[in-house]
Point group: C2
């Protein structure tokens, strides 16, 4: 066995040779859904913890980093984001951040596993507080198929808030999927994908996303690193692809005067996330 003693939840990253543990008071919930094993733990210092198939998904304490960085940089880069689609994101934290933007008129959360959302409503109510917003729409089913069927030129922003590129989410890290996203986007549209750890995955997953997004026709692609303590290396990223407009310009004044509260994101961390560490420059530049 590879666990700490009683009182700890441990996720072992066998391929990476690392493990991360959180001290827990107890398990609040466990079920086997149609798609995966869902567990909720009560941790001593990070609040509630969601685990899917043994992998840490989020904690109450630090998910703000991920959810803010998956949304606000893209939303403030797009000139007028009215319709937003989230693929995955069943915990509703991404949806909540999207709906903070008053210019968003319609948001869809397309999650394959409805149980993730139902469990989140119970154990992460703070992430689900915008689920009743009249602009919020939910579809529970296959995001790959949903994106294949969507009306062309109908979406401004697609956020791929998925699990790792193995198992159910594999189809969301694929050229065909990006092609469907490309068709779905209006002019000026943006796709943003969670893209794993800069330290571990720049040469593999991140480089692959860049290549596939460009092959799919996205004119500009950039990876934004950000801290995420409960994921491997504590360092994570999202990758934005833009149909037409460059990604280094953004609505900076709007970001600085945003009419809502954030904890990590602001106009300065937006710029900061666009800075490429030297090893990423070296690995990703054309």
């Amino acid at each position: 066995m590879t666990t700490l003693n009683d009182g700890w939840f441990t996720e072992v990253f066998q391929n990476e040779g690392t493990a991360f543990s959180l001290k827990v008071r107890g398990k609040l919930h466990e079920e086997q859904s149609e798609f995966q094993k869902l567990e909720i733990y009560d941790t001593e210092t990070f609040g509630n913890l969601m685990v899917l198939d043994g992998c840490v998904m989020l904690t109450a304490r630090d998910n703000f980093l991920y959810h803010e960085m998956m949304t606000h940089p893209a939303l403030f880069t797009h000139k007028n984001p009215r319709k937003v689609v989230i693929i995955g994101g069943g915990d509703c934290g991404t949806l909540k951040e999207v709906l903070k933007h008053p210019d968003v008129e319609e948001a869809w959360q397309v999650e394959i596993d409805e149980r993730v959302t139902r469990v989140s409503e119970q154990y992460f109510p703070e992430l689900c507080e915008s689920n009743g917003d009249p602009r919020a729409n939910f579809f529970f089913g296959d995001g790959v198929q949903w994106m294949r069927d969507i009306e062309p030129n109908s979406v401004d922003l697609i956020i791929i808030d998925s699990t790792d590129p193995v198992g159910p989410a594999e189809g969301l890290f694929a050229l065909d999927f990006y092609r469907d996203c490309m068709l779905a986007l209006r002019d000026g549209g943006i796709v943003v994908q969670q893209s794993e750890s800069p330290l571990l995955h720049t040469e593999t997953i991140i480089r692959g996303i860049h290549k596939d997004m460009k092959t799919a026709g996205l004119a500009h692609v950039v990876t934004l690193p950000f801290p995420q303590p409960v994921y491997p290396t504590g360092w994570w990223s999202c990758t934005m692809g833009s149909k037409t407009n460059p990604l280094h310009y953004f609505r900076e004044a709007d970001a600085a005067e945003r009419p809502f509260v954030t904890r990590y994101y602001n106009e300065a961390t937006h710029h900061a996330a666009l800075a490429q560490p030297q090893f990423m420059r070296d690995a990703l530049e054309d």
Copy 2:
């Protein structure tokens, strides 16, 4: 016990309710020095690992993040850094980065535990490759006393590359020590201190460093976050204090055209490190 089974090194952060583990092939070295227990492990994926009194100090794989960010931002912020003092830094990685700057004429490493340096020469030779540089000077002894005795107005940059602010390093996170640093600095001088985790320590340690540096007379103070996977939360920081010159200006062209190799640092990540996450702005602004 709180370890994973055989084959893992685990550091438990009891107060933080977290633990971090690295898969190890074996222990290469162990000794009790006059000051602390030193251990070196051979890890499967992070290269050699140095542990002091049970705490992860550095690995071969990811120390570049810490060492580059403890040095190059301050060196490229100072207009003409000729004399540099490192307090702590026994592994010599900070010294190596400092000596990459051709304008540095004299560098001192003031480390209390000579054994850390001797063991590093054996197990981290890549960090010690500049130890024979004619500009490199070593003093093994108490950094607090050394700084008290130094000639006033004689140093351009002081880098406090210490362990956590408990035990031997406690005196390096103190108002009296910053006062001695202030006296030692020439006009335009800068002090930079490793300042723990933004997520865990902004309200406690980082805020205290800001207050003490300002009380000691440093006119400008700013905290620079950066990733550091093997430290708690995977997110770390240094805090710069400047005697006279603002810290948001730097020799950007020199940084962009630096005549040496870096892996994280460049002129873009320099700017990025100056961006304050919103919660740090809220906690640290005057």
